[in-house]
């Protein structure tokens, strides 16, 4: 969305040395290349310089409340989803908004100009790309535009790694967000690990320009077909599914269901699900002041509907119980997000299922609430 009109997709083949050339070209153009890498016994997003930094041979096994890194895979993008999403960069955990200085003439507010970092994301999953588009609707819809997000988002170069397999907590097929992205990216890769090559799909003129400079050969028709077949294979491997037919309507009448209290017995109200969710956007504002009182700063920090502070208004906390907080989260994600933004707030990446320490499963809970309807 950020780089002008989308050209007709053209397909090229990309070798591993050419992927390195692509990363170098992005660096030369001033991009900070962010991609998957092994860190902390998991696949995480971090700065990458070359294909040597990619998690070659690694994959992950995810289940409700469990994640294990495994070293038994072939390819550079054989994992399911990294621990965090692009949210960590485009809507960072802490964002300085402005500072104020007091001098003899009074207080002066010094705005913090938006960062000029140009991120190039390498290997975004299709569900993560859709999550960025969902956050675009939250942060870029007039008249309330988040300037810091806008600057980072517009400068970002997006390279998708199409999914050719799915994990046990994936349900993007149900949410219509994957396993393959059909637009919205600058470039998209489909990996052929046994041949150490990629099918490269060009999505934008600036994607085209950077690929032309490398000089990749046009992809044969059967390679494009094979890539489609592999993506379709991933669609069959989804470990979870969520029936979205009439879901917002049916969940909308579940407010007084006894299921919320049942979930609350397990829910730790720790907030992990909201922190790992690639679309959750809630923040708090923190003011800081120096000891001498002549310097103040305002920060935006991620917050969660699982904290009491988020629903604190004059007179007290609106959502005191864990049941009410979980209900707020699930219903916002799957029901009221439609009313607010005209789409679902869930992309089916499965992170909230995997990274919930006690493995609460949004697909299972939504289904149970729907059946009670």
């Amino acid at each position: 969305m950020s780089a002008g009109t989308t050209t007709a997709p053209t397909y090229r083949t990309l070798t591993v040395p050419q992927l390195d050339q692509l990363l170098s070209a992005l660096c030369k153009e001033g991009y900070l290349t962010i991609g998957p890498t092994v860190g902390d016994a998991a696949i995480v997003y971090d700065e990458i310089r070359s294909t040597k930094d990619l998690p070659r041979g690694y994959t992950d096994e995810q289940e409700a409340g469990s994640y294990r890194l495994r070293e038994n895979a072939q390819g550079y993008f054989a994992y399911i989803t990294p621990v965090q999403s692009a949210k960590q960069y485009l809507h960072p955990p802490r964002q300085h908004l402005w500072e104020a200085v007091k001098d003899s003439e009074g207080f002066h507010i010094l705005p913090d100009p938006p960062a000029n970092t140009r991120y190039a994301f390498v290997g975004l999953r299709p569900c993560e790309l859709r999550a960025i588009e969902i956050q675009d609707r939250v942060f870029l819809t007039e008249p309330f535009v988040a300037q810091h997000y806008k600057a980072l988002r517009q400068a970002a170069f997006l390279i998708v790694a199409q999914c050719t397999r799915a994990g046990a907590t994936c349900f993007c097929q149900s949410m219509g967000t994957g396993p393959a992205a059909r637009g919205g990216f600058d470039l998209a890769l489909t990996e052929f690990p046994e041949e150490a090559t990629f099918l490269l799909e060009i999505g934008t003129p600036r994607g085209q320009a950077i690929v032309d400079a490398i000089g990749c050969a046009e992809a044969p028709e059967e390679m494009v077909e094979q890539a489609r077949a592999r993506q379709s294979q991933a669609a069959l491997q989804m470990g979870r599914r969520l029936d979205t037919e009439e879901l917002p309507k049916q969940l909308g009448s579940s407010y007084s269901s006894g299921r919320w209290e049942q979930i609350a017995r397990r829910c730790l109200s720790c907030g992990n699900c909201t922190m790992v969710c690639p679309t959750c956007f809630c923040t708090n504002v923190e003011d800081t002041a120096s000891l001498t009182g002549d310097h103040a700063g305002r920060w935006q920090r991620w917050d969660s509907c699982f904290t009491s502070e988020l629903s604190y208004i004059h007179g007290g906390v609106v959502r005191k119980s864990t049941a009410s907080r979980y209900r707020q989260w699930l219903l916002h994600k799957l029901c009221t997000w439609h009313e607010q933004f005209g789409e679902s707030g869930c992309v089916g990446c499965g992170r909230c299922i995997t990274w919930c320490p006690v493995g609460i499963d949004i697909t299972e809970e939504a289904q149970a609430l729907r059946q009670a309807h």
């Binding site: 860190g39 902390d40 016994a41 998991a42 995480v44 409340g65 469990s66 994640y67 294990r68 890194l69 621990v83 965090q84 960590q88 955990p93 802490r94 609350a264 017995r265 397990r266 829910c267 730790l268 109200s269 720790c270 907030g271 992990n272 922190m275 790992v276 708090n284 923190e286 003011d287 800081t288 002041a289 120096s290 000891l291 001498t292 009182g293 920090r301 991620w302 969660s304 699982f306 904290t307 009491s308 502070e309 005191k320 119980s321 864990t322 907080r325 995997t354 990274w355 919930c356 320490p357 006690v358 493995g359």
Partner: protein, 266 residues
Amino acid sequence: MSKTRKPKLAVWKFASCDGCQLSLLDCEDELLTVASILEIANFAEATRTVLKGPYDLSLVEGSITTPHDAERIHQIRRMSKHLVTIGACANAGGIQALRNFRDVNEFISAVYASPEFISTLAKSTPISDHVHVDFELRGCPIDKKQLLEVVQAFLQGRKPRTPAHSVCVECKLRGTVCVMVSKGMPCLGPVTYAGCGALCPSYHRGCFGCFGPKETVNTASLAAWLASHGVSRIDRVDAFRGFSAWSDAFRKESEAQERGEGVEHA
């Protein structure tokens, strides 16, 4: 109070290790500024000089464990405009509150050659059991940045910003991968009050619960997780019997585990 007079700061010690009050001396870069805007009126770790009360801000470290201290805290309260407790001892009774679960006289006779010289209370209790506390700063020890925040908030007449959410939020803010989910490692993060910046998980260790229970805590669900991940009943009791063993939530859970109660995880 004259406008030019600097507010008087006093630091008081009860049953504790001194680690929390040393956090104030640990504020090396900010210490001169602190000393320039506050008059350090009573702080035994820093100076022998003791100025007379009343005091504008009293920082109280330690728990009440003796009849003498149970009297002294009332005197301090009377001399203090604002009283802030710092650390797990002052807020929850500290590690020495482990005595609360047993008969203290048995300990005394086992430990001391002349038990008759020992004058102690049956329980180690938090300051708030004895006097009104204006604010509780969590930690074992407290975080020096949070201590400065509390001092700043006092000077500026506002509420200190010490979020009551879980340590999990701090892990996610700093990008630390969850040790429970990725390693199956026991961790008290989901029930523990934030403030340390998720120190232990960032070094691949589970949280020990130093800052005590967070708001809206669900210790039973975490205990069930511990049980399903091979943590024995006695270790589950001990997990909640750390520095904040006598806090309401952790005490109830350790007692429930001791009785063999618990919910099963699906």
